[in-house]
Subunit: 792 residues, 2 copies
């Protein structure tokens, strides 16, 4: 999408210097604001034109029936889908009775800027109405990172070339009409008119609407208040079941301005009463009003200063990626920062794609970034998972298993997938949660978390694996008939990713069980069970193809026919929209990193040589029809010495949404792929690994030719370790605290407070580049993109 | 169901001597009449009470949407479902203004008899109305085997104990209200009011209704006419869009009768005009009227005499099975006899179960019986398949394959399964069709069929296999990711049944291609393609588990965890209603014979020792949740020497519907299991095999203790070979024609015209009986059931 001269490459913002109706819905996603609790797509203030209007509250969803032509035991009957809640963004403008609409009249200037340091969305428009009156509108929007129930807009209108009567209508609108849903299964399933009006009111510059959802029974309140600057401004407030409106009128002379600050507060609950919700949103509104616009802006800046101080990644040599990684980190922050008690959905709160569901993306892609930059957010996300444990245990019981089977996709915790090869068989999600628990604990040493949340998650997931697998005649522990990460395979035996992640899960549960014997006993764990977990982990079956000298993704995989890419054209991607599942499943073609992901997360289970051979083998058959693939391939490409390829994959992950590479950015951003930008940089080029509780954290930094400097921070047990890499060497700096022991390319280094250590980078022999499927060679980044002023 | 003292065991009829509301819908299926073109469930003449009203025309269906919560490429969008057409069976009776209804008043006698030799359903009722008037009703119903558009009823009412005014209303009713569909996925999906009225008319004793279906665009006509005997009978005819009615009134004195013969004709077409259809049904009606009731009854008897002369199986020692096999053959005849140009659905025309779809049952279970007893019906059924070849080729192309992929379930030829692991991956259906072609040709030598239909079916299915499989690094031809017959496994590699059936398919296509080189050239077959088929067949991979010494049903199957039957209770069957597919698929549990079926149909590919070991192995894990299993297990049990067990499975197959063993006889009879009764007897106890075109037909008869004599006929190239077996020996008799060379227990025997040959049976050593899953031991038939006067 942003392969467009209107979009500039700048280090600290994303800027659209022109208005373009063709990419409007993508722009609405890219420039979306969120604090993890409230999400506002970057719909125009005046509401129209729009691509996809969207205002979301994390955890507010409605049921939808899941229809089956042929139902089966254990199929979920009801789905959950995120709903578009009351739109508080609307500020309509009339200039001498003509509605301000960029599709009419003359648009002289239209700029939108997402300011990554300020946390603001700025918009500047100069427009002449069809009748010839020129106005300038400057609006600034924020969704507060400090007051999580609050969003605000500062709307400033100025008449430029003559007097005009202007009317500003600031609105709350519920049950907005949405565009028809397209055929793409990744898009959302709309629930028409999801909000049932319960109460409304207005007074002076204030209005409030309260609604309730029918199926999920959630009560949603939204209120607004205003501060107006301008002379002789008349105001009137009104409210209706689906509309709250404050109308401001003024006669402006040339150069005069009308400035309106709109404070919006949201609140929702499945249990609180109508008066309770009304009070809750008014309280939030009162707090925002007291802070004031300037105060909210200042708080936002401070919060972001703190964030960038922890999380910023600096990059020289590829300015597109410098911009992209900051854009990515900003959205990861927005998705996870204040999602307290709620999930981090695959699209954050930037769009309705995937029905607002949370997948394993959260634990495997987003949480690694948060763990090392904003560990508190990871703890919240895992506490949310823990809160769904009773549902996951119910699901396991329904499936005839012990422990907890976490859902493939959900909002509230129940399984919402109607496609059982994913919804039931993709058990790896439970091991991915365990992996996130282990990573968080290893990085933070948060023993309170370990005891209150972590242990139980590990125990119940370990129980799942123990009951899902079995020992065969040779004593191997097999896990049959499951679906791994690769969605172009399903229901296979001994998927190596699943088996290795389960092995780690079982081992960690046993270790933690010994670490917290009292808590473990409370969970019904005895010595026998701990021993069983150890046994199963030790006997875990990892298939290997001796003939080819590679690991099959799952047992028998490498005996399958190879996909015939010679007949594929560019139009055939993504393959799942053009070929039947049965055909994809039975052949050697992978949608996304699967074995390659295993070599990243369980790299300790493979030799360097195995990694190289496996990587090159899977490179030939991986089509990256999933946005979860490129970043993982970048990590392993770097590890096995394909640095230039790692750079290319880094670029693909980083530009997934800025370039709309999967053509579905309209439905929301790919938060996991955005997080993958950091993963590709820090795990990939930085070579971060941390496989053992006892062992030191390891770095193996290497830079591709096109990147001249990379610097990032990693939080370890509350200490900030800064890693700065140039081609000549890597410098490790510790700001404060106890010395840190780490490995640099396998060499132990101890870094002490304010005594940076610089180590040389090893010389690498370039290996012959592997090949990709026809039409799926990643775009080469080379070295020439450093100074590009606008996106290619 | 008929575990009920009201049902008697008689050799040539099925009789219900009492009326029982609890089993009404099962009775309606068991006593259903059909000629393969028209099907009438045995609903009471007076329409109510009913279990499930049903009148069907083979090939008349309506579309229904197939909903998906998550759709995928190649999923069928529309399903097809059989519809309940105009009910022509209705004859309502009023006795002194009180409707005759067995739920009111006093029922003195109620008997229904399905006369298997006459092809008639007789009903006798004596009833006293609530007001105290006693009447006797005798009705006889037939669906003509000689005039395929015609059904008729002779309805006779007599007042017994005083004068009464009787009103007889003979009706045609369209769009009858049907009971709600239950949760069982095997039941039907009702389309409400499927018939749109197009025309209606009435005159004297005649009435006619014409309707059309909305989605499938089929025009359906139904007309009736009457012959009335009785004095001073008044009549009036009327018609409405959904109702045709002839009302007859008479004052009857004690002992006087009113006798009404109702002729009903049906016609349907997707192309013929309204006048065309009206003329068509009136012509059929005229023909029936001219033949008259007595004439129709006589024709019916003659047709059945011919059938029984060819097809009857005689059995001494187990009178229940003697009755059951005749009941079975009668219904197989009814399902297939006049299905000219149409399919043979899984339920015949006895109920709406499985939406009236045809599966592989037709070729693999029903056609073997028809091939050896009514070969013309097999030719018709295969010609129907051939007529759907263009659709099967389209489907293959959609799936990226060559040749023809026949549907898993269909009425009109399009794939109607919404569950892709069955609907797409169960490719074996195409090899099953090829198998039926080969069997029919081998048995009949019908070279016209071979050239006009058979060759093309073999060629297009061989092309499917060639494109579906591939040679692996070791040169083995693999067929990965397919679903075999066992519905408790799916999408596995190298399912042995599929691979062996594909092997036979490929070989036969190559042989026939050489046999008819000109025709083959017309189909685009060249020497290269013939060679490829041979190569693929010769290289076909058949996995074997050396460790266990058994064949895995599919590659890796025997490494899977065994199903834990120790925790299963009787209520857990059928398992698919109580456990998720994923769990069934990943464990060693089979719904039905799969490898065991391969050992039957491709017995030439296994040694005797392999058969014994495999049979015993799979016996432990086969739960027979499919009605297609018991008969196949009976065949192999007999072959490997478990004769008593073969008898037990024969009993289960034979009594599937008479005893309602699967609790869904209400939705229609299991035609394949009924056919399986013959399979169990002739292939099982008779040991019929015919694996090679050149080789002689083989018999290996052996009788279990409880059966003292078995006699059956087999048609071979228009010659009738009679096989009569007692414990002392088997006698082969040829009625006419050239001498037949056959194998008796491996010994070559030549039987010439009117010179029966008797051969001794070998002594068999009983082997230790295999075990079945807990709760799934078949009911033991022993030797004591010979003289049971009523069903147990």
């Amino acid at each position: 999408m942003i392969r467009h001269p209107a979009f500039t490459v700048e280090p600290w913002c994303v800027r659209a210097t022109r208005f373009d109706l063709d990419v409007l819905s993508q722009v609405e996603s890219v420039f979306a604001l969120s604090n993890g609790h409230i999400g506002w797509r970057a719909n125009l203030d005046e509401g129209e034109p729009n691509g996809l209007p969207g205002s979301y509250l994390n955890g507010v969803w409605e049921q939808r029936p899941l229809p089956y032509a042929e139902a089966g035991y254990g199929y979920p009957e009801a789905g959950q889908t995120v709903i578009n809640v009351t739109n508080g963004k609307l500020i309509r403008l009339l200039v001498n009775d003509e509605p301000f609409d960029v599709r009419y009249g003359t648009l002289h200037e239209h700029e939108m800027v997402l300011d990554l340091r300020a946390g603001l969305l700025r918009r500047t428009v100069e427009w002449t109405s069809p009748a010839g009156r020129r106005v300038r509108v400057e609006s600034v929007r924020l969704v507060s990172l400090t007051q999580r129930a609050v969003a605000a807009i500062c709307y400033d209108v100025q008449v430029l070339d003559g007097p005009a009567r202007v009317v500003v209508q600031s609105e709350l609108v519920s049950n907005e009409q949405l565009p028809e849903v397209a055929g793409d299964p990744r898009a959302a399933s709309a629930v028409p008119d999801p909000l049932r009006p319960e109460a409304h009111g207005s007074h002076q510059l204030w209005a409030q609407l309260v609604h309730r959802t029918s199926g999920s029974g959630l009560r949603v309140g939204c209120a607004m208040d205003h501060v107006v600057e301008g002379s002789n401004v008349q105001s009137v407030a009104e409210s209706h079941p689906d509309l709250g409106r404050v109308t401001l009128t003024a006669e402006l002379k040339p150069g005069q301005r009308l400035r309106v600050v709109k404070f919006v507060a949201y609140g929702w609950s499945g249990v609180r009463s109508l008066p309770g919700i009304r009070a809750q949103v008014d309280a939030a509104l009162a707090s925002a009003r007291q802070t004031g616009w300037d105060g909210l802006v200042a708080e936002q800046r401070e919060a972001l200063n703190r964030f960038w101080d922890r999380a910023d990644v600096e990059l020289d040599g590829d300015s597109e990626i410098q911009q992209a990684v900051r854009f990515a980190l900003f959205h990861v922050l927005q998705a996870g920062a204040r999602a307290e008690g709620q999930a981090i959905p695959a699209k954050g709160l930037t769009g309705p794609g995937y029905n607002g569901h949370t997948f394993w993306d959260s634990e495997t892609f987003v949480q690694p970034v948060l763990t090392y930059t904003s560990p508190r957010a990871t703890a919240f996300a895992l506490r949310w998972r823990h809160s769904t444990l009773p549902l996951a245990k119910e699901r396991a019981a329904q499936l005839g298993l012990r422990g907890a089977a976490f859902p493939w996709r959900t909002i509230h915790g129940e399984e919402c997938s109607s496609y059982w090869p994913a919804g039931t068989a993709a058990f790896h999600v439970s091991a991915d949660i365990a992996d996130a628990v282990i990573r968080y604990a290893r990085a933070t040493g948060d023993t309170d978390f370990e005891q209150s949340v972590g242990l139980e998650l590990l125990v119940e997931t370990a129980r799942l694996w123990r009951s899902l697998g079995h020992h065969d005649a040779e004593g191997r522990f097999r896990i049959d008939g499951v679906t791994g990460p690769d969605e172009y395979s399903a229901v296979a035996d001994n998927n190596i990713y699943t088996n290795l992640m389960a092995q780690q899960n079982l081992r960690a549960a046993a270790v933690w069980g010994h670490r917290y014997p009292g808590k473990a006993r409370d969970l019904g764990v005895d010595e026998e069970e701990l021993a069983q977990w150890h046994d199963a982990a030790d006997a875990m079956f990892i298939p290997y193809d001796e003939e080819l000298g590679v690991h099959p993704q799952a047992e028998g995989f490498t005996e399958h026919k190879e996909w015939d890419f010679s007949v594929c054209t560019d139009d055939d991607y993504p393959l799942f929209l053009h070929f039947p599942y049965f055909d994809l499943y039975r052949k050697q073609v992978t949608k996304q990193a699967d074995l390659v992901l295993a070599m990243f997360l369980r790299g300790d289970a493979f030799t360097a040589e195995e990694k190289s051979r496996n990587f090159d083998y899977y490179e030939r058959i991986t089509v990256r029809d999933s946005s979860l693939s490129a970043c993982v391939q970048a990590v392993l490409a770097a590890e096995v010495g394909h640095l230039s390829l790692a750079h290319d994959y880094l670029g693909e992950a980083a530009l997934m949404d800025l370039d709309d590479l999967e053509h579905n950015t309209r439905d929301g951003l790919h938060i996991a792929s955005l997080a993958g930008t950091w993963i590709a940089l820090v795990y990939g080029l930085g070579g971060l690994r941390h496989y053992h509780d006892e062992g030191p954290v390891a770095f193996s930094p290497l830079l591709p030719e096109g990147i001249t400097r990379l610097a990032f921070n990693v939080f370890l047990r509350k200490q900030r370790l800064r890693v700065s890499v140039v081609h000549d060497g890597a410098t490790y700096t510790l700001e404060s605290g106890d010395p840190v022991r780490l490995l640099h390319h396998g060499t132990e280094v101890v870094v002490t407070e304010r005594a940076p250590v610089t180590m040389p980078l090893p010389r690498t022999e370039p290996r012959p580049a592997p090949t990709q499927p026809r039409g799926r060679v990643p775009e080469h980044r080379g070295t020439g993109s450093a100074g590009a002023p606008t996106r290619r």
